[in-house]
Subunit: 235 residues, 2 copies
């Protein structure tokens, strides 16, 4: 165990973005603690993906159970239908979970303090994303400013740095960065409405963004789709 190593908490949802953020953090040589939330999401296979990814890298992995479903109000945690088709940019979709990233980052901040971690990695992306307010750079900046005042660690002059390395990348750029780091995207799941076996619907916003990303990056799409025959390739 190298005690001189800096430590990073990586929010790992099991999706394409967070797997890439994880690979980036690993490439920096940090001692890693991956943090996954079992928050009542309908797409539970996310959690299995996260588990598989963490185990492949042989890193510490904590799965924290939260009950955001009790708040209702999101298609990701209740039985509101997941919209199909592309719905980017001008309005916040029903898949928005109230204050989700704020809650996730708050727990990451607590864990960073307990683990004496220097960094929190979060794979948010403000270009090819679903229009959630808590994925924007200005939001992350304000969370950082708040975090700088929130914890004992920060008061002691060692604030935790929040890194959002994908925030200004297109989905294609994320995929290219991940391919350079040999991320196995076949293990990731982005779909909001997968079937019970974890196959992607191919029709929700998240599937659209992902498929177009692979196309634009010129990378064979390794996603298992249910309804749509996509170009399936191997890496």
């Amino acid at each position: 165990m190298d005690n001189t190593k800096q430590k990073a908490i990586v929010l790992l949802s099991g999706g394409l973005d967070s797997a890439t953020a994880l690979a980036l953090a690993i490439s920096k040589g940090f001692d890693i603690v991956a943090l996954t939330f079992d928050y009542g999401q309908r797409h539970k296979c996310e959690i299995s993906s996260a588990r598989e990814i963490a185990s492949k890298y042989n890193i510490n992995h904590r799965i924290l159970k939260l009950d955001l479903a009790q708040f209702g109000h999101s298609a990701l945690t209740t039985n509101i239908a997941i919209p199909k088709g592309k719905f980017r940019a001008d309005q916040i979709p029903v898949t928005y979970v109230p204050a989700r990233n704020t809650i996730f980052l708050s727990y990451a901040l607590a864990l960073a303090e307990v683990e004496s971690a220097d960094f929190i990695y979060i794979g948010v992306n403000a270009l090819d994303y679903s229009g959630y307010p808590d994925c924007r750079p200005e939001y992350i900046e304000k969370f950082q400013e708040m975090a700088n005042l929130a914890t004992k660690r920060a008061v002691d002059g060692k604030p935790v740095i929040i890194e959002a390395p994908l925030i200004n990348m297109t989905k294609a750029e994320v995929i290219r960065a991940g391919m350079n780091l040999k991320v196995d995207y076949s293990k990731t799941i982005s779909c909001y409405d997968p079937d019970s076996g974890g196959a992607a619907c191919g029709e929700c916003d998240s599937c659209h963004l992902r498929r177009e990303g692979f196309k634009e990056a010129g990378v064979a799409d390794p996603t298992r789709y249910v309804k749509i025959k996509a170009t399936v390739g191997s890496q």
Copy 2:
């Protein structure tokens, strides 16, 4: 049900400060949702106090179960001994729970969005307090700025306002404000280390602050103490 009423989420721990913040919010005429966290605290009688207070006012009350104890690192959630005696100001005590107010306010923010609430009331106090970083005015201000960017409600031009009405009050001022609003302080518990019947130890920092507050306010202290015979009065 008056639908024109503005709504406030009030963080209600069951302590003296939050009971006063609640009374202040009620005095403004808001429709109230009290929010209590069952976060693995050792002093569980806090939760019974919160329940009793909410029921007395006949307000909506949500008790949310979180597991902050799994993070360890605090005398309030693990078996680290609660320090006795007064330990104000120059260092953060072992009763500090990592990022606690950030996690609590994040959940309050989510609930505010779901409940279409206009305000969040939190009874933090930066004068007579235990030196926690997340009780300071500059922290609350930064949380507000972050919250203004975090939610759908804020993006739609209706940010939730965080009110910390006690933040610049001494404990005596808090008690006087509460007495004016007929807060029944005998129902509140401030002690970090009460006995199983909810009697206060009289020796922890929180007991010291509370007892001195009553003395300075010239109000009979209604607290049930275990070890120390205090002036016991009735209101």
